[in-house]
Symmetry: C2
Subunit: 182 residues, 2 copies
């Protein structure tokens, strides 16, 4: 994970990875027949957004959006995993990249989940109606991704968590700021 996050897929080497895990190159390739297999193995390991692991009993409606915002805030302290997904998702659009299928279906899944949550929120009357859930879903995911890159390049200038909270709030039309307990 660290190697792919720090150097990207192409520039990370089995030599470095092997050394880090205390094996020889052949030792690593005993478990993962190829470098591409190793990458997909790493990607399948877990999901940066903490979303896939929620399963079917995920929060509904705006509660789900709030969970999103919380995840962004938490990610501020997990630069490594942010870097991993930021680098690899973009790298995956290159020709023949081994993570292409992974990210294609990941985005598809994220959009579907978010679209559903937005529909729930509308049905619950939590957010104003009249907007296309699927389009908003894509935009919400997009801001989070885009802010990650800017934050990685300038962590002291870009307040990723604050910007994400504000942006998502405005995109869906509801204030998602965590209310203080009185």
């Amino acid at each position: 994970m660290e190697a792919f996050a720090t150097r990207g897929y192409n520039n990370a080497s089995l030599a470095e990875i092997s050394e880090r895990v205390g094996l020889t190159q052949a030792g690593v390739l005993h478990y993962f027949p190829s470098k591409a297999d190793l990458l997909t193995g790493v990607l399948d390991l877990r999901d940066a957004s903490d979303l896939e692991e929620l399963g079917e009993d995920r929060p509904r409606g705006t509660a789900f959006l709030r969970h999103l915002v919380d995840t962004v805030r938490r990610n501020t302290a997990r630069e490594g995993i942010v870097r991993l997904y930021a680098v690899l998702s973009a790298e995956s659009v290159t020709e023949g990249h081994p993570a292409q299928a992974f990210f294609r279906s990941r985005y598809e899944g994220l959009r579907a989940m978010l679209t559903e949550a937005l529909d729930e929120a509308r049905d619950l009357g939590e957010v104003p109606g009249g907007l296309d859930s699927a389009t908003v879903a894509a935009s919400v995911i997009a801001v989070m991704d885009g802010l990650q890159v800017q934050w990685l390049l300038a962590p002291d200038t870009v307040d990723m968590a604050a910007a994400a909270e504000q942006a998502i709030s405005r995109l869906v039309g509801v204030d998602l700021a965590p209310r203080d307990a009185v």
Copy 2:
């Protein structure tokens, strides 16, 4: 440009590039002493967003935002350049990447330009006040970037232009849809 866009920096090879331009490898390295120099040369050539080239007589206030939206729409027909910047901007956050300085300053410049335009729009009364221009600026750039990746992976599913127009409109609090001439 095409090589870096299609394969990313690390995976693009001087061999392929040389062949494409009809030179030998040594021939290419005669003009650009190293691969890294070639990359920065390509990046300096022009800017995907068409923004830097606007100079000081750029449109003011919401007119500038409209220009942004138009650019996104135009980019729908320029997959190559979209891919170039999407791939390289993310790749640039990896350790020692030769385009890191370029993208750091590019984002800084874009945020500054957009922040200024948002302040103008507020002073002109074109958009509601009370929002932090710098934060909104970062988010606007972020949606555009994020939508590009999703669009590249699923061009038939993601309507980049429509989503960007809607998202930016909501982020700044004004309808940016191009009005039809009557």
